[in-house]
């Protein structure tokens, strides 16, 4: 039975074109994001207030432990702003990474039955995370203004680029691990572990100079290769740096803007393309593995 390929209109079903398909299904994406937000705090009295409360408490704990007990408060000017601008970045990262890497397994029931562009799920987690990111940013801005924030255009750009790096990097990791998670549920635990380590592996609770002073040179370079470190430093540069009174004492890592930032963007992009490739090569097997 030899069949000639038809000339018109037919296409193989279930061919995902990645982000293009997600964009083509904006309406569905919006509904999924709405759903996630609606059910996140379902049945709670405080509702969306939890998005403010949780980072607030987290901040307080770190502030008391690191700032007061370990005296970083005296070592770093405006330590509260320094701390919170880093926490905000890490929260965005861990929310996107954590939820996106569970998204395919969590929506297994649906994926097994109906075809829809599967990248909708990790991408929807990114958008949901942004909605919880905004209130935290608002608190941070308030703190900044109280401490005399006077940013220039460079600082604002740094924040924007930092957000971009985090989004791309966390989405890429999320897509990578959500694919692993379909085949090995160990991935979920690895994700939790990575999230825990990542807070300490970037200058959120301490300063980057401590890494350079206490450890070997090569550790410092590896440390700076991490896009998270770069993003956190960009946030410090954007939010904390302009609030300090003596900018000459405090300095951002050398070549942050000219060297490390472009490198972080490239790293994240490469990772994203690899994740996208892996995801798309494996998604045909999701339905039977779930």
């Amino acid at each position: 039975m030899d069949i000639q390929a038809p000339t018109t209109h037919l296409r193989p079903p279930g061919q995902d074109r990645g982000l293009r398909d997600v964009f083509a299904n904006r309406f569905l994406l919006r509904l999924i994001v709405d759903k996630e937000i609606q059910i996140r705090y379902r049945g709670t009295v405080l509702g969306l207030l939890w998005s403010y409360l949780k980072p607030g408490v987290q901040f307080l704990v770190f502030y008391i432990a690191m700032g007061v007990f370990l005296d970083l408060n005296r070592g770093i000017e405006n330590f509260a702003v320094y701390l919170f601008s880093g926490i905000v970045v890490m929260n965005l990262f861990s929310e996107v990474f954590g939820n996106a890497s569970r998204s395919v397994v969590a929506n297994g029931g649906l994926l097994k039955k109906i075809y829809l562009p599967r990248q909708l799920f990790p991408v929807s987690n990114l958008l949901v995370a942004f909605i919880h990111f905004v209130p935290q940013l608002a608190i941070l801005l308030l703190a900044c203004f109280l401490t005399g924030w006077h940013p220039g255009i460079k600082q604002l750009l740094a924040v924007l680029v930092g957000t971009l790096i985090i989004s791309l990097f966390s989405l890429a990791l999320g897509m990578l691990f959500t694919t692993f998670n379909v085949f090995f549920r160990d991935a979920e635990n690895i994700v939790d572990l990575l999230i825990m380590v990542s807070t300490w592996a970037s200058p959120v609770l301490y300063m980057w100079t401590m890494v350079r002073e206490k450890l070997w040179d090569w550790v410092y370079y590896v440390y700076m290769l991490n896009p998270l470190t770069v993003a956190v430093e960009l946030f410090h540069y954007g939010f904390w740096f302009p609030t300090t009174d003596n900018p000459q004492i405090w300095h951002i890592p050398p070549h942050l803007l000219t060297g490390w930032t472009p490198l972080a963007i490239v790293t994240s992009l490469i990772l994203y393309f690899l994740a996208d490739k892996l995801f798309r090569s494996q998604e045909g097997n999701f339905a039977q593995e779930l």
Partner: protein, 308 residues
């Protein structure tokens, strides 16, 4: 394997093709290691032994479905018919072979799969409609029809978790039946709700058939399949064993001569039609006795299809 002889046969061309399945083969992995430890040990030991056991779910299946055809996929449990449907919808990809379909293939596969219990009926209609490929405008336009068809209008703003399972299925089916794909896939969902609602659903599907919609149905209800479909494909252990008109397919399933199946079914249809006609006559007489004007309820079997 007998060849298909349905009424569209002579003037079919490539342009009328709705689905083309050629040499579709699919293997499933039965025993799968779920931990990295096992996989790692297996790798270290030089990949000795098979980590998995395989099972051929579909073996070199080929068929073409043309626009306007109504095709039943028949077979006993585990014969591969639902897997075939999943391949056509794109949920799974074949290991080898090729599947081509029209752009919009969707329908009544496991209705309610996209429902979320914590959302209201209204939100679920939108979410599920979008999952089934409808645009916002389409859902807006059809929303009232969807709710009316489901007959649960008063609960539409209640969260779905408070619905009874019948109400839930009604709403889910109602959304699915209002989508307008080029090819409708129907997987064993005709057992929705109570009998009146079931009849309404089947009537709706017959209506789609009359309007020339391409339909692929998986069902074990052979009588219903003969009502709806004109072509039948019988699968057995992952291979296609029969492809022809639906009576032949049912005959193959029942191990009966085709003429008997056809005769029995046609007798059944004639009887049902006669019953309906008699019931209507009786209603008309009752009405006349009461001196009322009798307006018969619309029935496509008696009155022919509606316009549009």
């Amino acid at each position: 394997m007998s060849s298909s002889t349905t009424r569209h046969t002579p003037d079919r061309t490539e342009a009328d093709l709705a689905i083309r399945v050629s040499h579709m083969t699919k293997e499933f992995v039965l025993r799968h290691t779920r931990s990295m430890k096992e996989a790692f040990v297996w790798l270290v030991k030089g990949r000795k032994g098979d980590l998995t056991a395989k099972f051929t779910a579909l073996n070199d299946v080929s068929f073409d479905i043309y626009d306007g055809e109504t095709v039943a996929l028949l077979g006993f449990n585990g014969s591969g018919k639902s897997t075939t449907l999943k391949m056509i919808s794109g949920v799974m990809n074949p290991d080898s072979g090729e599947i081509l379909t029209r752009e919009k293939v969707a329908g009544l596969i496991e209705v309610g799969a996209g429902f979320h219990p914590d959302l209201t009926g209204r939100d679920n209609v939108y979410l599920n409609g979008a999952i089934l490929g409808m645009t916002k405008e389409e859902i807006d336009a059809k929303f009232d029809d969807i709710v009316a068809f489901s007959e649960i209008a008063e609960f539409i703003d209640t969260e779905v978790k408070f619905y009874s399972s019948g109400m839930y299925l009604r709403l889910a089916f109602s959304v699915a039946i209002h989508t307008d794909p080029e090819v409708f896939l129907v997987d064993e969902i005709l057992s929705v709700g109570d009998e009146p609602f079931q009849k309404k659903c089947i009537g709706r599907i017959k209506d789609l058939v009359r309007r020339g919609k391409t339909l692929v149905v998986v069902s074990h209800d052979l009588g219903l399949v003969m009502d709806i479909c004109e072509r039948g494909i019988v699968m057995d252990h992952g291979t296609k064993v029969f492809d022809g008109n639906v009576y032949g397919a049912v005959a193959h399933m029942r191990n009966q001569p085709e003429e008997d199946v056809r005769r029995e079914h046609e007798e059944g249809l004639a009887r049902a039609l006669e019953d309906k006609r008699r019931k209507r006559e009786w209603q008309a007489r009752e009405a006349a006795e009461r001196g009322e004007q009798f307006v018969p309820q619309y029935d496509p079997d008696l009155d022919g299809p509606l316009a549009g």
